[in-house]
Subunit: 192 residues, 2 copies
């Protein structure tokens, strides 16, 4: 029954704690307390704290992949799919205002720690970038699809950072509206 159940619980709780408190500030005790297991029990499932981080990054990677697949399967047009991505800012606004973007803040923390997992964390961004590039290509702009994808990714990251700094929900909604307008103006006016 417990085929990795405890392990999954550890990763799940660690995922939340790494997001809400940061990787460095989260201790084994914190995770153990939340999961409800002994602290010394970790070693059977993960040899080091970095192994937990790897598992958390893999979990987020997988979750992201499933989310993108779901958006793809919903069967709207590319514009609608891109808006699904942008709408994350509104849907997760409470968490974003409290803790920032899970991917962006983890990447920045790992960059400062010069941590080996930083590249894997950035790969989650890569997943979004590639998926967005596909959508832009489907929108009829193959030449600049990757640039546009990175641009939109950066835009949403900036919104997340400032939303966290100022705890400003109205700002999020305003920027999402601006992004939507920018997107609609893209097809007709390809100067921006």
């Amino acid at each position: 029954m417990s085929a990795g159940a405890t392990r999954d619980a550890i990763v799940k709780r660690a995922d939340a704690l790494f997001y809400e408190g940061g990787f460095g500030a989260t201790s084994f005790s914190d995770i153990a307390g939340l999961v409800g297991i002994s602290r010394g029990n970790f070693y059977h499932h993960f040899k080091t704290k970095d192994d937990i981080l790897d598992a958390v990054v893999a979990l987020r990677m997988e979750r992201t992949r499933r989310m993108l697949d779901a958006w793809e399967a919903e069967g709207g047009d590319p514009r609608q799919r891109i808006l699904s991505f942008v709408h994350m800012l509104v849907a997760n606004r409470a968490q974003i205002m409290a803790f920032g973007c899970p991917v962006g803040t983890l990447c920045c923390e790992l960059a400062k720690l010069d941590h080996a997992a930083q590249h894997k964390a950035a790969d989650i961004f890569g997943l979004f970038r590639d998926w967005l590039a596909v959508q832009f290509r489907a929108l009829g702009m193959p030449a600049r699809s990757e640039e546009l994808a990175l641009h939109l990714l950066a835009w949403s990251q900036g919104v997340a950072v400032l939303a966290a700094a100022f705890r400003d929900e109205a700002f999020i909604r305003r920027e999402v509206a601006t992004i939507t307008a920018w997107l609609d103006g893209l097809a007709s006016n390809q100067s921006d």
Copy 2:
């Protein structure tokens, strides 16, 4: 002679370490080693680690203020002043790709730590926002000046996050060019 010289050295080194390694990951020993003083000596200058953080934030605030004043004193037009702000991304590209934006990453870390100094750190963003708003007003768009200021601030933050995640210098330069074009299109076409 030493009228706060040691204290200033502590703050100066702590500022760099907080930026390059993060607040939580920087210890008294790290700072002491860099300054070249005894670890126990801190208590005479700062009662707690949070006091050092306060001093660092105050230092960054003051440094930002001086920078904005200098841009103001250079005597260009508002467009030129805004470009001075944007050009920071290029001028500091090496550090940004390695550690992100000093203000953005600190705000995000303090948000996760639920730290009392988070508001003070966000005030540095406030300084940029208000200064940028003044420039946009001088550009002839008083109604949306604050929104435009926040928008540009978020834009540059997004560039910093993704530049750090992907270590992509070309991306920085490309986005800076896009921002410049956006800025030049603002006065004539006020739809964006």
